[in-house]
């Protein structure tokens, strides 16, 4: 199966291991992510202010490219890009007059017809089938106790949520298919503090402490998540001793498929935990 | 108009298209030295004796030069020394750089590397920082870096191209410093065209025996100047724009000690005192010698020659003017603008109105230009335009020899220039004719960029002796880097030991007397600063009411 793929800026610069592990894992499943020939920075925060139509231009331009490259679907891995593209798309679908205005402004482009569907990789994997994923597992990750963490962008606002915003389960299902022992964490949908990390990092430090200690108290040895900003916050702002490593779901998939993962971007090094569980050894033996 | 050309030119254009296939294999023979000497004597504009005269005043009295240059040397100063208050100094610096082009900026950087703080320097320029001939250079910079080449060959090519009249110590400096300059450019982040292994793409130019021209598409000058200027901005080197120097100041010990500037916008004069002055004022294309069009920028008016001469420096080789063989001859709006020699280096050949070859495409510039003039005006094989004649440069040949798309990729500047006027030079030939391009000579310097007057340095196009009677392509961008660097280093060394005496403009007064004594009665003033292009009708009704 192949599907057009929108990476977003973060995955190309500061969260390269999320992209790398995602491409490896999806390839192992036979899913080909085809990067759009031309794509634009979605604008993230700016386009979330939907009263200013100008800021919707960047995501719509990308969706036009999806349309013109012959796709009716595009998948993205970065949670914020997912949220931004999906909200922009929804705004256009629900407000044909705004779509008309943007199409008129983009006079050098073909019109956006509003038919593209925006996917997050987790949704694509669910469609692919967690049972199918289980069949591809070569290295059982059992013994690894991991608490899923969702953050905000996958679940809020409700109109773009990819799962139940109060009690989502998609990450849990994926983890179970990999053989990981899931640790329930009631703070799994709590916001990590997001961009406050820039100029109010004490807020992020506080939220990180809450989220991580809640998971640790319940026996988690690590957290697993999807968003590169949550990753940055939870990975770099744990101040206490006994810091938990933070995995991208794609990294755990890659490991489960017996593939090597580059953890050099991680501040809290997961290698000790993985060695302890014998996971890295199993992968080395396979090579 | 069809494809940018009027119907009247199409008969000739068709002939060029027709002969192209056959000409692919033809190579016109290079000229023997005897034949080329004869050609120059008969057709090169430098050999028209009635277009020159001997200058009657100054340290190089008796030297022959074009009327237009002599007119500037035999002219009154712009300022009246009695109206200048030299005690009221506006800028007191270690190093004054007059000219904001390549040479001046390189000199500033190397003075900085050798201990002069940016706060103690000042670049002054009549237009903006970077407005210069340096910015417009297209074809490349000669550096003998390949194993099959050597600096000795580079030396030989340079001195031969200059008709063996170049100053040997200056040519030695030029070719020996060349690799160092290229390394410096690499370190600064200048982008040169390279192959996949990182070796520079190199081509040959007129008169070069090896491929040694390094280039950045056909924007070589612009790429170099942008980076050098960016570096000087990062260092906060102060620049005064629209404030040309109009006279040099000396001190009572005979050393050059500063300059008078004129703020072109407020008309204030400014007094700059400096321990060392680097003259990097560029060329003289806007003098339109013998009414030729020019490739030069708006401000190329030989100001530095005039000011230096008044302080007592000698000039050299001003009887030799370089006419670039291929200036655009059509359309009228771009008449005279440079078509880089690299176009010929990559395979385009000059052909006459019948589409036939008449000269080897890569003779040294003076020989090539003379051949074009002979073809148009003696053999009458040129194409008529509204303002003169021209020969074709068969640019579509480049696409045939190197593949479709080569012209757009290698000559974006040229392609763009013609496209703006409806001509696609990858499909149609372009019309060319010699254009006033380079001041071969200039202010005499030694290999440390020193002039004969203490405190005064000169570099770049304004300086003379490096190229003899004819400069080779790719040696000018090299020249401004090599001697700009030497000027900066020399000036920095000199500054440490300078003690300035009392400022004076006596040399200006003396010069005025010398003019009178030589019987020169004139209303002319110099330096020119900017050429006059205002419409005749508008000027006829001009009346400055002093409001």
């Amino acid at each position: 199966m192949n599907i057009l793929y929108y990476p977003g800026c973060t995955l190309k610069t500061t969260a390269t291991s999320l992209e790398e592990s995602a491409l490896k894992a999806t390839q192992a499943l036979g899913i080909e992510l085809v990067e759009l020939k031309d794509w634009y920075c979605c604008g993230a925060v700016f386009s979330l202010s939907s009263d200013d139509l100008m800021h919707q231009i960047a995501p719509i331009r990308t969706l036009i490219n999806v349309q013109e490259e012959g796709g009716d679907r595009v998948v993205t891995i970065c949670d914020m890009c997912y949220n931004t593209l999906k909200q922009a798309n929804l705004l256009m679908k629900e407000n044909p007059d705004k779509l008309k205005t943007i199409n008129a402004f983009l006079d050098e482009q073909v019109d956006y017809k509003g038919k593209v569907r925006v996917y997050h990789l987790l949704e694509l994997l669910k469609e692919f089938g967690f049972n199918e994923i289980k069949k591809k597992v070569k290295v059982k990750l059992n013994g690894l106790k991991v608490a899923p963490y969702y953050g905000c962008m996958l679940l809020r606002p409700r109109e773009v949520a990819l799962d139940d915003p109060e009690n989502p389960g998609i990450l849990e299902e994926l983890m179970k298919s990999l053989g990981v022992e899931v640790v329930e964490n009631p703070l799994k949908t709590e916001c990590c503090g997001s961009y406050h990390t820039v100029n109010r990092k004490e807020i992020v430090e506080k939220k990180t402490k809450q989220i991580v200690s809640s998971a640790r108290e319940r026996g988690a040895e690590a957290l697993v998540l999807s968003c590169p900003l949550c990753h940055f916050n939870l990975d770099t702002r744990q101040l206490e001793a006994g810091r938990l490593p933070i995995f991208y779901f794609t990294e755990l998939m890659a490991l489960a498929f017996g593939l090597e993962v580059d953890f050099s971007e991680h501040r809290v090094d997961p290698k000790h935990l993985l060695e302890e569980k014998g996971i890295l050894k199993k992968i080395r033996v396979m090579r | 108009m069809i494809e940018g050309y009027p119907e009247s030119m199409w008969k000739s254009i068709e002939k060029v298209h027709k002969t192209r296939e056959r000409r692919l294999e033809e190579v016109f023979k290079r000229m023997e030295i005897g034949e080329s000497d004869e050609l120059l004597r008969k057709f090169h504009p430098d050999y028209k004796e009635d277009q020159k005269r001997v200058v009657k005043v100054g340290p190089s009295k008796g030297m022959k030069m074009p009327h237009e240059v002599a007119d500037l040397l035999e002219a009154n100063p712009l300022i009246d020394p009695s109206e200048i208050d030299l005690s009221n100094v506006d800028y007191d610096v270690d190093l004054l750089l007059i000219g904001g082009g390549g040479a001046g900026t390189v000199a500033a950087l190397w003075a900085y590397y050798n201990g002069i703080k940016p706060d103690n320097m000042l670049i002054v320029t009549k237009l903006r920082h970077g407005d210069s001939n340096s910015m417009m250079a297209q074809g490349g910079t000669q550096v003998a870096d390949r194993p099959e080449d050597s600096p000795a060959l580079h030396y030989l090519d340079t001195i031969g191209g200059g008709h063996f009249t170049n100053n040997p110590s200056l040519v030695k400096a030029l070719v020996a410093d060349a690799p160092k300059i290229l390394k410096w450019h690499e370190d600064l982040g200048v982008i040169y065209d390279r192959d996949e292994e990182g070796n520079f793409d190199e081509i040959s130019g007129g008169g070069t025996s090896r491929f040694r021209l390094h280039y950045s598409k056909d924007y070589t000058g612009m790429e170099q100047m942008r980076v050098i200027r960016d570096e000087s901005r990062n260092l906060d080197v102060p620049v005064l724009e629209f404030s040309p120097a109009v006279e040099l100041i000396k001190d009572t010990n005979g050393q050059v000690a500063g300059a008078i500037l004129s703020n072109l916008e407020t008309k204030e004069y400014l007094v700059v005192r400096a321990k060392a002055i680097v003259l990097a004022t560029g060329g003289f294309g806007r003098l339109h010698i013998q009414n030729f069009q020019t490739t030069n920028h708006y401000g190329a008016t030989a100001d530095g020659l005039v000011m230096a001469y008044r302080t007592g420096t000698r000039l050299i080789d001003l009887d030799s003017v370089q006419y670039h063989p291929t200036g655009a001859a059509y359309p009228l709006q771009i008449a005279g603008l440079l078509i880089t020699e690299k176009v010929r280096g990559m395979g385009a050949v000059p052909v006459n109105k019948d589409g036939e070859l008449f000269v080897h495409p890569l003779e040294p510039r003076d020989v090539e230009a003379s051949a074009f003039i002979r073809e148009c005006y003696e053999r009458n094989n040129g194409v008529e335009t509204l303002t003169g004649r021209g020969v074709w440069l068969d640019s579509p040949l480049i696409e045939l020899k190197h593949g479709r798309g080569t012209v757009g990729k290698s000559f974006p500047a040229m392609h763009r220039m013609f496209e703006r006027f409806g001509i696609d030079m990858s499909k149609q030939p372009i019309l060319v004719f010699p254009t006033l391009h380079y001041q071969n000579g200039g202010i005499e310097i030694d290999n440390q960029a020193r002039t004969s007057i203490p405190g005064l340095f000169a570099c770049g196009e304004a300086a003379g002796g490096i190229h003899g009677k004819n400069r080779l392509m790719g040696n000018s961008t090299l020249d401004y880097n090599v001697f700009g660097r030497r000027a900066g280093i020399s000036a920095a060394k000199t500054i440490k030991n300078v003690k300035l005496g009392k400022l004076t403009l006596d040399h200006v007064t003396k010069y005025r007397k010398a003019l009178a004594e030589a019987g020169i009665k004139t209303e002319r003033k110099a330096p020119m600063i900017l050429p006059e292009y205002r419409g005749k009708e508008a000027l006829e009704k001009y009346m400055d009411l002093g409001i």
Binding site: C9, K12 | M135, L530
Partner: protein, 229 residues
């Protein structure tokens, strides 16, 4: 020429002038009596000094181009913009790092790009300006340097950008980063520099500096010339 040239009516900063139709905007201003101090540089399309904004007869849109390379049109209304007060970041190139978001660090405003395409429509060199800014945002230095190469730094893009990006300064940083850190270095040059430091060519060049004109002529005549490709 006895025949009067065809004229066009243009408006220079609102003032009406009759000028010969064949002139460029720059030629027309001079014809009308303006002496350029600001607003003219190379007069050949390389320096960006003559940025001009104009409107055509009967249209409402604003166009932008270079005065030295653009023909006048009947009914044209124009003004030149000789200066843009854009901030240029200061940096020590030797201390920079291409692996991170260096460009974003020095020009953070590029993240405000909404891909409105105004810069592309404005550029007189027809560059893909928006694309080189987007490439810089994505950390693709090579693409950004390549797309921005022909930029003459005229400033028109910066003046019209709603996000206040200074594209031409961004391009300059990108290109220097590429040239210094991403271009493969020349082995030939390294070798030649070493050879010259050891004086390999000194005696040969010294001999040439001392040779007479006649000797030089002979050596020059007998040199072999590398064949053109």
């Amino acid at each position: 020429m006895a025949t009067k040239p065809e004229m066009a009516k243009i408006y220079i900063m609102g003032k009406e002038h009759q000028v010969p139709k064949e002139l460029t905007i720059m030629g027309a201003l001079e014809y009308a009596g303006y002496k350029y101090i600001r607003g003219a540089g190379c007069r050949a399309g390389f320096c960006g000094a003559c940025s001009t904004i104009y409107r055509k007869k009967g249209e409402y849109k604003l166009y932008s181009d270079l005065a030295c390379q653009t023909l006048v049109q009947d009914g044209m209304r124009l003004v030149q913009l000789p200066f843009v007060p854009a901030v240029k970041a200061k940096y020590d190139l030797g201390k920079l790092d291409v692996s991170k978001n260096t460009v974003l660090e020095y020009y953070p405003e590029i993240a405000r790009c909404v891909t409105c395409n105004t810069c592309n429509k404005t550029c007189p060199q027809d560059l893909e300006v928006m694309e080189f800014i987007q490439a810089a945002l994505k950390g693709d230095i090579e693409k950004s340097a390549r797309l921005s190469f022909d930029c003459i730094q005229c400033g028109l893009c910066a003046v019209r950008c709603p996000a206040d990006i200074k594209h031409y300064h961004v391009g300059q940083l990108v290109r220097r980063l590429y040239g210094k850190y991403m271009s493969k270095k020349s082995k030939n040059l390294e070798k030649r520099l070493k050879e010259m430091a050891h004086g390999k060519y000194d005696s040969e060049i010294d001999r040439l500096t001392r040779a007479s004109k006649e000797e030089l002529r002979q050596i020059y005549k007998s040199r072999d010339i590398e064949a053109a490709k």
